[in-house]
């Protein structure tokens, strides 16, 4: 468990967010795995996958009543490259770039849950993350947030069809956007973008010239 501060000079104190983290730790104990805070800006918290719903309930009890969104992250770099380079050119294998690196608050799995809730009275939000361990058959599952926030219904349906994560306790887990017989999970990185396979990107094109930095026409009449 580690707290990370990004400020180098005078340490900026964010009492509100510190208090939120302290209360979360008090409610959930060991379930809070990692916390990342940019003081006065934002707060990230990672919890264990088993306590996903409990974390939601703890946040709700603290006053985080507004449900912003719920989704997932696939941390594997795309095996198809970033789609911006000329595919006829040879690209060297970069072992560093092709390993899975999770972002803020770290993690161990390729997939992570991502959710955000807001407290409309204290004007603060929290981004919640959780690892998604894969079962033996490659599937992933996590508890549904519907008992905590009713609006999670549609978000979980979309996450299910895009990433292949199943939600325990969801009453009606069917596709949101895709046709019923769609195979594959589009937002996973190993699902190719068909447009790029059909017609490879010819490479980065010359961007427009930047406006001159000594621009003194900034005065408008």
């Amino acid at each position: 468990m580690s707290d990370t501060d990004t400020d180098e000079s005078t340490p900026v104190v964010d009492e509100l967010r510190d208090e939120i983290v302290a209360r979360l730790r008090a409610d959930l104990g060991d379930a809070v795995v990692d916390v990342y805070q940019v003081p006065q800006v934002d707060l990230w918290v990672r919890v264990t996958p088993e306590s996903w719903r409990a974390a939601g309930e703890a946040l709700r009890a603290q006053g985080f009543d507004y449900f912003c969104f719920l989704s997932a992250m696939d941390w594997m770099p795309s095996p198809f490259g970033d789609g911006e380079n000329d595919p006829t050119e040879e690209v060297e294998e970069d072992p560093v770039a092709s390993e899975i690196r999770q972002g803020y608050t770290g993690g161990d799995t390729r997939f992570q849950m991502l959710a955000r809730v807001t407290d409309t009275r204290r004007h603060v939000s929290v981004t919640l993350k959780a690892d998604l361990p894969q079962h033996d058959d490659g599937s992933m599952s996590i508890e549904s947030w519907i008992p905590v926030y009713a609006g999670a219904n549609w978000h979980e349906r979309e996450t299910h069809e895009m990433f292949g994560i199943s939600f325990d306790g969801h009453p009606d887990l069917r596709n949101m956007y895709l046709p019923g017989d769609f195979e594959g999970y589009p937002l996973r990185k190993d699902f190719p973008l068909l447009a790029r396979l059909v017609k490879p990107w010819p490479g980065i094109v010359d961007v427009e010239p930047m406006p001159a930095s000594d621009n003194d026409e900034g005065d408008d009449s």
Binding site: P77, D82, R116, W154
Partner: protein, 390 residues
């Protein structure tokens, strides 16, 4: 301030319950009606599957996805400036507003700030896109109810705002004007005077619409007490914008968070309404257009001189990190969760669009209403298909 007495609310609910009981006793067969995807009422290709009992809805379920373009996948193969061009098209009526949260998130990751003049002009264009978007809503409201005339007035007056946006950015509907570090260009000469005139015209338009549509007794009887959404249900579903404020929640992202936009330099009022019915949602949007014209007026007066772009490298590589920025867009709260790995383009962009959450409440709110009320409630929730389906 609520116009709807307890008795009226209870009697409306009781009447519907009585009807439902009677229908169950008579065991009349229900009819499944498809509203959409091609339908004059839906703002695009939204399909609502409604199971009706006579004229009453037993359940209704929207089936979105007819316009899904896969934005989140598309952003993974584009550079940051290219993503800006793409996300214009999410909410295509107030499209400058779509770019702003993404650019702010990228600037947050790069730890740069646009110069004050650029922030100011961003805010002006943001409010102009709000006016363009919501004035069409006001006109369209009439058409959904059957009044065919207000929509023409809305289009006529909206043209002035679109001309303004085109004058500044070069595009009426898809400006693609925001850049990481500032704006593409400065304002043309004479634009500020023109804007003053247009804001006066828009205020006249608001008065006209209030007289013609909101003052009409039939309109009021069609919208008051219809589709009541209590405040805690609204928060649970993540309703945002005017929908949330219409349920009495005092939450406005322009005032309640500090972003590098010029909102802290202007005075504006955040409108709320305690009722939470369709009337409240429509009325609040009307007030918000008026408020937006006042904000633009104040911003024009206090526009600081200076550059519109900070020094950024020619090829922009955003450093590694994650950032979330959301703004009070015309439709509600729109936010981008940008994950960057230090490349030319983002690693993942999660687009949180307002209409997705706004429409997710329809199965809950459409239980037991009449068929015409479906149209009223959907019209008052106000969605853009591109926003739901991304």
């Amino acid at each position: 301030m609520t116009m709807l007495s307890e008795r009226q609310q209870m009697s409306y609910i009781a009447a519907q319950a009585a009807d439902a009981r009677l229908n169950v006793e008579l065991e009349t067969e229900g009819m499944t009606l498809n509203i959409g995807p091609q339908h004059p009422a839906t703002h695009g290709t939204l399909r609502i599957i409604a199971r009706l009992d006579g004229e009453q809805v037993v359940w209704a379920e929207p089936s979105a996805g007819y316009m899904h373009r896969g934005y989140e996948k598309l952003t993974e193969v584009r550079t940051f400036p290219q993503v800006t061009a793409l996300i214009n098209r999410i909410d295509w009526l107030g499209s400058f507003a779509n770019e702003v949260p993404f650019i702010l998130a990228a600037e947050q990751l790069m730890d740069i700030e646009a110069p004050p003049r650029a922030q100011h002009i961003r805010t002006i264009l943001f409010e102009l896109s709000r006016i363009a978007n919501v004035s069409l809503f006001l006109g369209d409201l009439g058409v959904q109810m059957g009044a065919v005339t207000p929509v023409f007035m809305a289009f006529r007056d909206r043209e002035y705002v679109l001309n303004l946006i085109e004058g500044a950015t070069g595009g009426r509907f898809h400006p693609n004007f925001d850049r990481i570090g500032g704006l593409k260009d400065d304002l043309p000469k004479g634009w500020l005077d023109e804007t003053r005139q247009v804001m006066k015209k828009l205020r006249n338009f608001c008065d006209e619409i209030e007289d013609l549509l909101f003052g009409n007794e039939i309109f009021q009887s069609r919208t008051r007490g219809i589709g009541v959404i209590p405040a805690d249900v609204a928060r649970q579903y993540g309703l945002s914008g005017a929908n949330l404020r219409a349920s009495g929640v005092d939450w406005d992202l322009r005032r309640d968070q500090s972003l590098p936009l010029a909102y802290d330099k202007v005075d504006f009022r955040v409108w709320t309404h305690p009722d939470g019915d369709s009337w409240a949602r429509c009325w609040i949007r009307l007030q918000e257009v008026r408020e937006a014209t006042k904000i633009v007026d104040q911003l024009i007066e206090t526009l600081p001189p200076g550059p519109v772009m900070t020094k950024v490298p020619r090829i922009i590589k955003v450093p590694e990190g994650e950032a979330w920025v959301s703004t009070e867009n015309p439709l509600g709260e729109m936010g981008y969760y940008v994950v960057s790995k230090g490349d030319l383009g983002p690693f993942r962009v999660k687009i949180r669009s307002a209409s997705f959450n706004n429409i997710s409440i329809t199965p809950w709110v459409l239980k037991g209403v009449y068929v015409p009320d479906i149209i009223t409630i959907l019209a008052s929730l106000y969605f853009i298909l591109g926003d739901i389906d991304r």
